[in-house]
Symmetry: C2
Subunit: 313 residues, 2 copies
Amino acid sequence: MRITVLAGGVGGARFLVGLRSAYPNDEITVIGNTADDIWLQGLKVCPDLDTVMYTLGGGIDTDRGWGRRDETYTVLDELGAYGFEPLWFTLGDRDLATHLIRTQLLSAGYPLDEVTAALCKRWDPGVTLLPMTNDRVETHVVVDTDAGPAAMHFQQWWVQHRAALPAHRFTFVGIDAATPASGVLDAIWQSDVIVLPPSNPVVSIGPILAVPGIREAVLDTPAPVVGVSGIVGGRPVKGMADVCLAAIGVAADAASVAAHYGARGDGGILDGWVYESGDPEPTSVRASLATTTLMHDEAAAAELARVTVGLVT
Amino acid sequence: MRITVLAGGVGGARFLVGLRSAYPNDEITVIGNTADDIWLQGLKVCPDLDTVMYTLGGGIDTDRGWGRRDETYTVLDELGAYGFEPLWFTLGDRDLATHLIRTQLLSAGYPLDEVTAALCKRWDPGVTLLPMTNDRVETHVVVDTDAGPAAMHFQQWWVQHRAALPAHRFTFVGIDAATPASGVLDAIWQSDVIVLPPSNPVVSIGPILAVPGIREAVLDTPAPVVGVSGIVGGRPVKGMADVCLAAIGVAADAASVAAHYGARGDGGILDGWVYESGDPEPTSVRASLATTTLMHDEAAAAELARVTVGLVT
């Protein structure tokens, strides 16, 4: 079976560990969000791609869910000693090696999909990891500051301000001119099932679907599309998706997120929806399943992946 | 008094510590060699400038004489785990922060002299540190390999091969088109004394003097020029200057190095020469002094600096 997953960072990566465990002999392709990528200290940082790569490759800090295990911050401390901003992004030493290599390969002219494949050779993630696009796309956030409205990079809002500045809207800068990376549309068209894991629907899955051509492919592919709610009991399991949903006027509950994606046949993309037992049932979606969606360990993630894929195949 | 020093790495930096100690109220300008600079992992590395800056700023690994104290190598280990060559250059984590900042400032369009000044703000070296040029100049070495003659970057020859491959000649790639950095010629013209510390005469002082305009200024400046031999008892105190001297046909003894620089009035640049007691006396140089030149500690370096400057002023 061919399984294609549209994934953001932590939630998507944990789901993928379960999916790989549940479907060890199947072909899994991950289309990763690159809109939260950022140039920092002259380096191209791809947080979501790296979270997926490190998690599936066994290099992740499992407690935090992001960044490298046994990480150190010597370089960042030194940048601080020079007073060389920005310092709010926790750039670890181990992580930095990945960015150094990526930046050099990009500078040498390789597209991000080839660079990602080269980095994955070390980590052997057991899936094909594709960036949604090779083009530069960056999520910026329009926020209120003491000096009035301002726009800032998503990472600055998310990491430095912990999403505490009220967000009015998100802009995926560069998205209109972006094209899907090599293999992305094929993976959608030739898949047996497409999965939206419990990633942030606004700033992770949102930009992937906003790359011209991707939403259209997801709408038109013969493969069924199934999503998993990352909102449990009206709050995100991890991260600050509720704040992001509020900014686009979507209520932070599982049924509203399903309605945001929309039901197939109703202008939307979902054939199936998996959500936490006790949360509101989605309307319109053809197949839905209330179950336990918390991924406490790999076995729980595998079971969630199994029932999710099983719901529509 | 205005003192201008043409300096390479370790030997020059140790001499400068003594000079600063001996002349705390005088104006010291250092013209640093940049021909052993190298682009590594996408970063601009300036080993000689950094050795001077770290040494005078108290950040040097005093045992090795180069690199940062309490250095770690997490990033380099990670690059190795990716198999991302080259790995022979010992790029420390602390050191790397300096290169990250330098590279970004250069990429932003600042010339190397301004970048060096910005980095020195943290280290407060007590001297004005100028690169010999803002232009890219790289020392390459023509060597014998099993596959025949080949050229390689000086750092590769020096660090990876420990100067063990027989060197036929050195080429300062880019030197013909290089111009002295801002302040360099003024420092030579307006100085009260010019000092050549015990740096490598071939690959440290050599390229500085080879920047078009610098040798001419040193020849014509009214300031006396005094050098200190880095060759003691026929061997370099530190480094592999003997191998470099052999490649250009100069014997590894103090008098031959003095003759290589040449005496003023005889087509050369030296008004004075300081060398180790017991080593051969230079011919032609107007003033010479046999003394102890080993810089075991700051006091010894200060005394050496005092007699060196005193010899010609």
